[in-house]
């Protein structure tokens, strides 16, 4: 029996839906819903997490992330400028820094920062400074490369126009190139912020007091206390409350940038113009 191409495609798609339904049914029948419910969806345990999981843990996660991101952005900008410097030692330093902090796990950096640095340098930061430095040092390595790409994506003609108006190299960088570069890299920078939000869960390694718990540490403490996975689930949902809007923001920014490019097409093609 010969089937047309369209009919065959329909049959295949129907088969896929059927398979999905079978898997779902089997899972529903086989799974021990009572146990799963006890482990993940214990309402009493869930209620016990509020309001602290919001007022302490969520707030702390956001605070730590913002601090780390802010410091990382500033340091990343400095590193990016050093990478493109005409002074070779600056370039080397920046390259070494970026390769090192991108290449080692953030986990190790935090351990080193939590235990090594206080002993080695005889300093004791408060928790916010420590988090800002630890998260920022790691984040800066990634952001430096993003920022450098953004700066290099600004058409050369922009700098030439600025220099022709009598601006110095530095002045042109600050007033013309960097503002445009940040517009270009806003979407990848938002992704960086999402990654950092999740990386902030690693700072429990620094040793935290109860009032300093962020979401992941808070969830684990509650897990031990109640012998239930429910707090972990709630903590996970709290992360999504932060990250999903950010990822929508990132996609919206990307669309906006793409749309803007279309409008200024003559500007965008100004890259390789030279008679």
């Amino acid at each position: 029996m010969a089937m047309s191409k369209r009919k065959r495609a329909q049959a295949v798609r129907g088969g896929q839906y059927a398979l999905l339904v079978v898997v779902a049914v089997v899972l529903a029948v086989v799974a021990d819903w009572q146990n799963i419910g006890r482990a993940f969806f214990n309402l009493d345990v869930a209620r016990a997490q509020f309001p602290e999981i919001i007022s302490t843990a969520l707030v702390n996660t956001v605070t730590y992330t913002v601090l780390g991101f802010g410091f990382g952005l500033v340091l990343g900008l400095i590193l990016a400028l050093m990478r493109m410097s005409s002074v070779p030692p600056y370039r080397w330093l920046a390259s070494i820094y970026i390769e090192f902090f991108r290449g080692v796990p953030a986990l190790l950096v935090f351990i080193a920062f939590g235990f090594g640095v206080p002993i080695a340098f005889q300093v004791r930061f408060d928790i916010y400074s420590t988090v800002m430095l630890a998260l920022g040092l790691v984040g800066a390595a990634y952001m430096a490369e993003t920022i450098r790409a953004g700066i290099q994506a600004v058409p050369k003609g922009q700098v030439e126009a600025a220099r022709s108006l009598g601006m110095s190299q530095a002045r042109a960088m600050v007033t013309v190139v960097i503002p445009q570069a940040f517009r270009i890299i806003l979407p990848p920078l938002t992704n960086e912020l999402i990654l950092l939000t999740k990386d902030s869960s690693l700072i429990y390694l620094l040793g935290l007091a109860t009032s300093e718990y962020e979401l992941a540490k808070f969830g684990r403490a509650a897990l031990n206390e109640h012998q239930s996975m429910t707090p972990i689930l709630i903590a996970g949902l709290c992360y999504l409350i932060i990250t999903i809007p950010l990822s929508f923001l990132s996609r919206w920014l990307e669309r906006r940038t793409a749309g803007g490019k279309k409008v200024s097409a003559p500007e965008a093609t100004g890259l390789e113009v030279k008679a």
Partner: protein, 256 residues
Amino acid sequence: MSETVVEIIGLQKAFGPLHVLRGIDLEVRRGEVVCVIGPSGSGKSTLLRCVNLLEQPTGGRVAVGGVELTDPDVDIDAARRRIGMVFQQFNLFSHLTVLDNLTIAQRKVLRRGKAEAEEVARRNLARVGLAEKADAMPAQLSGGQQQRVAIARSLAMDPELMLFDEPTSALDPELVGDVLGVMRTLAEAGMTMLVVTHEMQFAREVADRVLFMDGGVVVEQGPPERVIAAPQHERTRAFLSRVLDPTHQGPNVPAT
């Protein structure tokens, strides 16, 4: 009257093994309009870019307004303030409004106050016929409007010399006229201008002198009625016949 604004002596420029300028001598006097024509790759844009040192010459001297730009110790930023430059691709600052495009260098470089800078900006926007576009973003303007804004941006710095690097080459044909009109008005107002262009009609009507460049040298120069209408050199004739009669169907001599 015949004060020298631009003085170029023995200008050389090489990009690696590529010798683009092979000894250019050029003098432009105050109020003079000089058009540079020639085939692509002849070095005319490079010559222009050497005048405000966007390209660093490999040899020779460039002086503008008595200041030698090729002196390694010159304050190049200060020298460039007095030289306006208009690019083929406009190069408006795409993140700023039209008004801010005109005020930013006035404020950051010339240290003019906000009110004065805006007053100068609006006066120059009116000069290029775009007073009502002050609050627009560059991307909202047509190519011709963007180029007129770019001219106004340079004028706002009160330059004593304006450089134009193929200002109409990136424009749709119907927008070329507006930009050339602004340039013509500027020339009539006595601005000293050095213009690299393919617009022979403009060169013929507005230029005081036309330079024909080929292979990195000035092949011939003189008043437009001689260089364009009655070229002496074979290379000039060949170029002009290609430009003025692109399909090679007419007689092998430029018309008029």
